[in-house]
Amino acid sequence: MAERVATATAGSPTRALAGRTFPARYRVATRRAETPDVVTLDLEPLDDPIPPPRPGQFVMLYPFGTGEAAISVSGLGDGGTLQHTIRAVGATTRALCALGRGAVVGVRGPFGSDWGVGSPDLDGLDVVVVAGGLGIAPLRPAVHALLGRPRSGRLSVLVGARSPADLCFADELGRWRRRADLHVAVTVDAAAPGWDGSVGLVTDLLAAAPFDPRRTVALVCGPEVMMRLAARGLEAAGVAPERIRCSLERNMHCAVVRCGHCQLGPLFVCADGPVLPWATVAPLLAVREL
């Protein structure tokens, strides 16, 4: 069919919209269970791939007939492959988590702001990555990018999870621990038999992390209450709120500043965010039910 967007040929008026206004189709190449309710999907493009996402950006994933969900990019592979790490919490994310190898999913994106780890501004600065729960997902490509090129600053990755079983990317965290150019610390709220790591809040890990607060950028993602505590801890340590970047979650329903659902005060989180300086969002998050 000539008018089919996904198979449109060059010169078709709708071609430029595929992947943005209409989804581009991807195939599930690999499906891995991270935890009992979290799945990582590797997606390979069937149509023209979407432009390469920058670490911190998100896409809209469409399992056929169920709706779209805003999902961050948890990894970038070769040939336009996208990785997404998804927790089953609603109808759409349940459908996504249930997709098997070979299933087709629609992708629009990438959308929103990013961690800024591609910027040379970060060279010479220490970077502290603070992840709570599934917050590790959008931070993982940032760590990959920071490890992938020579930098003179130090890098710390602090990870918190509810329990050892809820820890995502556990194997990779183990590999990161063995690297000399990376400080990794992991803590859980509640330990389980066999856990010999820390127990407590992720913010407790800040004390042992090697960073000079006057020359540090922090990247923070997790539940809002955790981000608030992490920002407070970083500020107390001397990191300026402008240099604490956090990734917000709101109802990103259209992802292109049309639907109005993701507003937080003056912000459209889908486009102004999701990554925003703590200095910008702190006064907004301080207002209940804003």
Binding site: V5, A6, F64, G67, R250, N251, V257, H261
Partner: protein, 388 residues
């Protein structure tokens, strides 16, 4: 009319002399727009309100129908003289035709173990809006700027807007709910029209002084009998608009409202509004600038075909702010605060202007009679900025 027929199009642009057409001329113009391929939409009295719907000619327009509006109140009245535009604004606005309440964005069909994606159907015919008031003309421009804020503006809405033809009308009988003189959007129709009319029903006859706003507007007058406007016509038209402006007593300072609401997220008055607000979403549905939408999947029974259908949404619904675990704005207090603060304050941050055009619809159509002008005044601590 007076035995003269305009054989040529009046020139468009600044300083174009206004022309005068009579009721028959307006009828010919409407029919001409339909012949040119437009879906012509205008005011129609129906079910106790003046709504917007398809019109074939002036016979469909609400001759001699006015309205009385107040907080929580809208009634049609008879107006002597048979004017076609004696009403002000009803529950509908141009938004209904430029970004419709329900439309399909794209659809998907199962194909083996995958699916294919189809774009939307071909563009609908362009719409010609007849009788657009100054406030609603401004609202069209406000929604244009909202659309332009999107990194990926919707192509169908952009197309509908670019092809729309607008016949504006100056307001002669403002309602008590109107405050366009505060927002600078009326009662005269401002820029953005193809043609703008001032309706006159004096001793010199029922006629319209027509200002031409575009080449398309000039073209639409070809084949319509017209004569140049005289100084007396122009004076009469200026009096209609001046008298209308003089009858508008409701006041809202948009710049002050921005600051007042930006400073008041925890003001106790929000609790007072919340006790009256029913969270019914009427204000957002009648507002000509509200733009929130929701998209839902509509599937056929066999599950082989799914459409992504966009519909108007409202910040008064719980789903609007839904995140896993619940709504961010669970209380009526927070939802009313979101609506009013967005409309009058954060809209400035997002789009560089107020989101309110002073049409007063949200006041009239609120079943609880909540008056945003009075609420802003209460939050500002002023004794009341509304009223004379």
């Amino acid at each position: 009319m007076d035995g003269r027929t305009g054989r040529d199009e009046p020139d468009a642009g600044r300083g174009t002399p206004a022309v005068v057409v009579d009721v028959d001329g307006l009828d010919r113009m409407i029919r001409g727009l339909a012949r040119a391929g437009y879906r012509v939409v205008g005011p129609v009295a129906r079910d106790g309100a003046v709504v917007l719907d398809d019109v074939d000619g002036v016979a469909d327009l609400p001759a001699g129908v006015g309205d009385e509006q107040d907080a929580g109140r809208y009634r049609l009245t008879g107006v002597a003289g048979g004017a076609l535009f004696a009403h002000t604004v009803g529950p509908h606005s141009a938004r209904r035709f430029l970004s419709p309440p329900r439309r399909t964005l794209w659809s998907a069909a199962r194909d083996g173990d995958g699916f294919t994606v189809d774009g939307p159907a071909a563009d609908d015919p362009p719409v010609a809006l007849v009788g657009v008031r100054g406030c609603d003309l401004a609202a069209i421009a406000v929604q244009d700027r909202v659309r332009q804020r999107s990194p990926h503006p919707d192509p169908a809405c952009a197309s509908a807007r670019a092809r729309a033809f607008v016949v504006a009308v100056d307001c002669a009988r403002p309602a008590s709910t109107c405050f366009c003189t505060s927002t600078g959007t009326g009662p005269a129709a401002g820029p953005g029209h193809d043609l703008a009319l001032t309706e006159l029903t004096d001793a010199h006859g029922h006629r319209f002084v027509v200002r031409v706003g575009s080449d398309r507007g000039a073209a639409a007058l070809a084949g319509v009998p017209w004569r140049p406007a005289t100084a007396a016509d122009l004076d009469a038209a200026a009096r209609v608009v001046g008298d209308a402006a003089g009858r508008i007593t409701r006041r809202l300072d948009p710049a002050r409202a921005r600051d007042v609401l930006a400073a008041a997220p925890e003001h106790p008055h929000w609790d007072d509004v919340a006790r009256r607000c029913l969270s019914c979403a009427n204000c957002t549905l009648v507002c000509p600038t509200c733009f929130c939408t929701a998209v839902e999947d509509v599937t056929d029974l066999a599950g082989g075909h799914a459409s992504r259908v966009e519909r108007w949404d409202s910040c008064f619904t719980l789903d609007h702010s839904y995140l896993h675990g619940g709504a961010v704005r669970g209380s009526t207090r927070s939802r009313y605060r979101q609506w009013l603060t967005h409309k009058l304050s954060t809209w400035w941050d997002q789009f560089g202007e107020t989101g309110c055009v002073g049409c007063g619809r949200c006041i009239a159509w609120c079943p609880a009679g909540i008056d945003l002008v009075a609420e802003v005044a209460a939050i500002a601590g002023a004794p009341g900025e509304s009223g004379p």
